[in-house]
Symmetry: C2
Subunit: 122 residues, 2 copies
């Protein structure tokens, strides 16, 4: 059955960065938590929108033509097909992600060393 999920408690269970953990399923979407630090890599998701909700720290989402800044209590939806590059302004950023269960963290290009294929449930 369904139970309340505490973000702080879940974040306390892992320290790796750029490795989203699944903490919930809502219809066809997964709710994931991730710790981000530094710069990721340019990528896009052909069929999937992706929501970034910042829990702690400040995230800069670079697009090819501009940058959006996301603070705690704010979210940004990256529409399908739009290239983006997450970069942290603070040392570390904690985010809650919402995206289809099928989404690969590095998008639909060739897999890289940062691609995480079998996400862990927390």
């Amino acid at each position: 059955m369904t139970h309340t999920v505490d973000l702080s408690e879940k974040f306390s269970r892992f320290s790796e960065t750029w490795t989203p953990k699944i903490v919930g399923a809502v219809n066809d979407m997964h709710v994931k938590l991730a710790r981000l630090a530094g710069e990721f890599e340019w990528h896009s998701h052909t069929e999937e929108d992706e929501l970034f909700f910042v829990v702690e720290g400040v995230l800069l989402m670079q697009f090819r033509d501009r940058t959006e800044r996301i603070e705690p209590g704010q979210f940004l939806i990256v529409p399908r097909g739009v290239e983006h590059l997450p970069v942290t302004e603070t040392d570390e950023v904690k985010v809650m992600l919402l995206e289809p269960a099928t989404t690969l963290n590095t998008g639909e290009g060739e897999a890289s060393e940062r691609t995480v294929k079998d996400l862990e449930w927390l």
Copy 2:
């Protein structure tokens, strides 16, 4: 194009309770904000899971056999088909909801005076 959404700023734009406002679309889901106060009504959603993330205040989610308590920084997913009754422990609770674009706030039973059919985008 996509822009950062600030929850506080969005909440400052309305004061009605039990009237979710749409603040984003991710794939087939809507992100909604709502102010809750007091007790809602028992209902369920046949085909739709529903996520409640508490932003401010404390929410009690009653099920037929137990109650879950949700504080700021916590969320609860109510699976499809499960009857639930949201009740606020604090005077008012601010929540972020995530549910399919098709979800009616009062579920699939007969519409009530609390049914909101055409949700406003903020």
